[in-house]
């Protein structure tokens, strides 16, 4: 559970830092009338949707860290053979990274009111997302054809399960992205559109980061890193 605990410590640190700025030491029973409100003008300065996404990503991070914890704990047993990684995963990773770049471009262009460019970038990002999913399915096919079935070995099981879970999250992101595309297809990109695109981009960057961690995990590089940490600790 170390991975999870480390993540939890990070989240709690952020929460603690935020709480420390909320005047938890004030004496509310002595303060009648105007209270010092850390929110400027008593209104939130960050749109709720952004905070909402942030909290959601924390939940997603907890989810994947728990999968990874389980992966490491299960790995300790003797019946574990690592699954070979299909080469196509490299291409998939590149496509996912490309999608991330495209969404970033869509955001920047929307902010500068180059609406057409932004719309094109959004559609290209959607295509990249679909291509990534297709590539993942292709990688699964390749593995099953090579005889690495889900129930044969825990490493296989974990690979299919966790990459499937990641794929489901990407699929959810694609639904949101489609909605944004449909909503912004006509009319100028207003503040709301920029916000939606920013949210999509943030989500995508995050899922890219998750994928990179997972890829490192499946390829076995993470093990060396974890081994190093373990030696440093003991």
């Amino acid at each position: 559970m170390n991975v999870t605990l480390i993540l939890l410590a990070v989240i709690l640190t952020i929460a603690g830092w935020w709480l420390s700025r909320q005047r938890l030491f004030s004496k509310p029973w002595l303060e009648v009338g105007h209270a010092f409100d850390p929110r400027p003008d008593g209104r939130p300065s960050i749109p709720p949707a952004k905070i909402g996404l942030g909290v959601f990503l924390a939940v997603v991070a907890a989810l994947f860290s728990l999968f990874i914890s389980a992966y490491f704990m299960r790995m300790a047993s003797t019946d574990w053979w690592s699954t070979p990684m299909p080469k196509v995963l490299w291409l998939n990773t590149a496509i996912l990274g490309l999608g991330s770049l495209l969404l970033h471009a869509a955001r920047v262009t929307a902010e500068r009111h180059r609406d057409e460019a932004s719309r094109t970038a959004l559609i290209a990002a959607l295509a990249a997302g679909l291509a990534f999913l297709a590539g993942q399915v292709f990688a699964w096919r390749e593995l099953t054809d090579a005889g690495f079935l889900i129930a044969d070995n825990p490493a296989n099981s974990f690979f299919y399960m966790i990459s499937g879970m990641h794929g489901l999250h990407i699929l959810g992101g694609l639904f949101a992205l489609t909605r944004v595309i449909v909503r912004t297809r006509a009319g100028p990109m207003d503040e709301r559109a920029v916000l939606s695109i920013t949210l999509c981009a943030t989500y995508w960057h995050f899922m890219l980061a998750v994928w990179l961690v997972l890829f490192a995990l499946f390829s076995g590089w993470a093990n060396d890193f974890v081994e190093l940490c373990r030696q440093l600790l003991t």
């Binding site: 559970m1 999870t4 605990l5 939890l8 989240i11 709690l12 929460a15 709480l19 909320q22 005047r23 938890l24 030491f25 004030s26 004496k27 509310p28 029973w29 002595l30 303060e31 009648v32 009338g33 105007h34 209270a35 010092f36 409100d37 850390p38 929110r39 003008d41 008593g42 209104r43 939130p44 960050i46 709720p48 949707a49 905070i51 909402g52 909290v55 959601f56 924390a58 939940v59 907890a62 989810l63 728990l66 999968f67 389980a70 704990m73 299960r74 047993s77 003797t78 019946d79 574990w80 889900i150 129930a151 825990p154 099981s157 399960m161 879970m165």
Partner: protein, 591 residues
């Protein structure tokens, strides 16, 4: 202490909080069924939770009938008994307590208490309820599936949970159970995001974090915990579903079943236990923290006195929330783990007793020399304090490895668990319903029925669970379908078991009276008016009762903390949070 900081005497200008775009329902369906109004969603959540809770109540009756009168009821065979136990536990912990506290009270109280018009993401909020309902339906469906519901125990430990020896293990039972949990967690995440972000972003002007009622603090912290803890259950459920359906071996070791070698091998049942309890222990506090918060508000309001040590109460809630993530393995002392590990977890477990004890002292000190009104909510709040202390003390026993090991498989654990996590939070739920029902419906609940309900429930619960401690100490095992001829269990223990069963039937019947009261009072209850308890918090200051869609005509502005009761020099013994000016002084010694 007179250095109260008053701002300029004149009231702050009207709400400058940006008004949210409210959704406007156009038909009866979108107004009352597919509603995005948090208040309607709250009532939907609560009704569903209470309905499924009644099923769990009946299951506990059946279970008790078997324990009290073994063999007297032919239809309760061993298999059914395990199914009753499992479903009773799972429904009560997840589908009743969690859903009612967070989905029910969270939805109703957070926007109203913070002076918001609604939750920040009303659509996701609506989806949250419908996913919850779907989860409940899937759960109920397992009663009708071939082989019946799962009988794996509410902890669903593998490998037995997916083997043929366990009811539902090789049938639909376990699959439906796991699917239902997965749906519940997805639904809860949608709701939970709402509760958290509404507290962060939806507060009205002047409502700083340190002016939030403790109810909101409790629900908020519990929701944050739930958002981080439920993924562990999600992961465990997904992995077990893979083991059961796709034949993987995450949790399944090599196993011979009915003389046949299964294809599983190498999996770790302990891994499941880690995941499950990483969720399972925070779950205790996910239920307890809202209860703590609500009870603080009930006590303060009905004792007409400011809460003692508000800051300490807030800190304690936050500290308990954080600590509860590093105690999970105290549920696993008998799993064969390293004793040093057990020592670590025993220490963290006992440390939690410190902030919890602070809260108990503060409740008692709030009551000290208060103007105590023994209203129904107050009675339930007092009953909670006593019960929680009782259950908490046996927790100190069980938190220690050497004491836990011999007691772990006995009725003592059942008694402890039911006192601290069953009876105590349920008492708060009752108190909260008696307290807020007038706001929800505009009418008071019937007092006579309420008094009967309270006394039967409170006294009855003790008559059920106190003897159980004794049964545990003489070694009566839990989970057993029947005792048979056992030398160390005296005949008197069987008599005691009969007594417990009869009391369980009586207490259960009292809940039917409560249910009747809930329905009867909607039409026949006494008119309540807007603020029957003369309370300070914002939900009692709405222009209409029950509050209409959007809650407020003009958003309220908050000028003071929520506990200005019996302020010297004030015209009345309470000052609402949205009342401007410097009427009265804060009470002395409030720190």
């Amino acid at each position: 202490m007179v250095d109260i900081r008053h701002s300029t005497g004149e009231p702050i200008g009207a709400a400058e909080v940006e008004d949210v775009e409210l959704y406007h329902p156009h038909s009866w369906w979108t107004r009352y069924v597919f509603s995005q109004d948090a208040k309607i969603i709250a009532v939907q959540y609560a009704s569903t939770a209470i309905a499924i809770g009644m099923v769990a109540l009946v299951l506990s009756w059946l279970m008790r009938l078997q324990l009290g009168f073994p063999g007297a009821f032919a239809f309760i065979d061993a298999e059914r008994y395990y199914q009753f136990i499992t479903m009773h536990g799972m429904i009560m912990v997840i589908y009743l307590l969690t859903a009612l506290f967070l989905g029910g009270f969270g939805n109703y109280l957070i926007p109203l208490m913070l002076g918001a018009r609604d939750m920040v993401f009303p659509y996701a909020n609506m989806l949250s309820y419908w996913l919850y309902l779907l989860a409940v339906l899937v759960l109920v469906a397992s009663f009708f599936a071939p082989g019946g519901p799962t009988g794996a125990g509410w902890t669903l430990y593998p490998p037995q949970a997916v083997l043929s020896g366990t009811p539902g293990g090789k049938d639909w039972g376990i699959i439906l159970m796991l699917s239902s949990l997965i749906l519940f967690i997805i639904g809860f995440t949608m709701g939970g995001l709402n509760y958290v972000v509404t507290v962060l972003q939806g507060r009205t002007r002047g409502m700083t974090l340190m002016r939030m009622p403790l109810t909101v603090w409790g629900i908020f912290t519990a929701t944050v915990m739930a958002l981080l803890a439920f993924p562990a259950l999600f992961v465990a459920c997904v992995m077990m579903l893979f083991d059961r359906v796709l034949g993987t071996s995450f949790f399944m070791p090599a196993i011979v079943e009915m003389g046949e070698q299964l294809q599983h091998g190498g999996g770790s049942p302990i891994l499941f236990q880690h995941l499950f309890w990483f969720f399972g222990h925070p779950e205790v506090y996910i239920v307890a923290l809202p209860a703590f918060g609500i009870v603080s508000d009930l006590i303060s309001t009905h004792a007409r006195k400011n809460i003692f040590g508000y800051r300490m109460m807030v800190w304690a809630i936050v500290i308990i929330g954080a600590l509860s993530f590093i105690v999970w393995a105290h549920h696993m002392y008998v799993s064969g783990m390293n004793p040093y590990f057990g020592f670590f977890f025993a220490t963290t477990t006992l440390i939690i007793a410190v902030p919890t004890a602070i809260k108990v002292y503060n409740w008692v000190l709030t009551l000290w020399r208060g103007d105590i009104h023994l209203t129904l909510p107050m009675l339930f709040a007092l009953a909670f304090i006593v019960t929680f202390v009782n259950g908490g003390l046996t927790g100190l026993f069980l938190g220690n490895v050497v004491v836990d090991v011999p007691l772990s498989d006995t009725m003592f654990v059942v008694a402890h668990f039911h006192m601290v996590m069953g009876v105590a939070p349920i008492l708060v739920i009752f108190g909260a319903i008696y307290h807020w029902y007038p706001k929800i419906t505009g009418r008071m609940l019937n007092e006579v029925m309420g008094q009967i309900h309270f006394w039967v429930t409170f006294v009855g619960a003790y008559l059920i669970f106190f003897p159980m401690h004794y049964l545990g100490l003489i070694g009566m095992p839990r989970r057993y379908y029947e005792m048979g001829e056992t030398a160390f269990v005296p005949a008197s223990a069987h008599t005691l078991n009969e007594f417990i069963t009869i009391m369980a039937l009586v207490v259960g019947a009292a809940q039917l009276l409560f249910l009747f009261n809930l329905i009867w009072s909607i039409r026949h209850g006494r008119e309540a008016g807007g603020n029957p308890w003369r309370a300070t918090t914002l939900e009692w200051q709405t222009p209409e009762t029950p509050p209409r869609h959007g809650n407020w005509k003009e958003l309220p502005v908050v000028y003071r903390w929520p506990y200005d009761y019996s302020v010297p020099g004030a015209a009345e013994d309470f000052i609402p949070q949205n009342q401007p000016g410097s009427a009265g002084h804060a009470p002395e010694g409030a720190s």
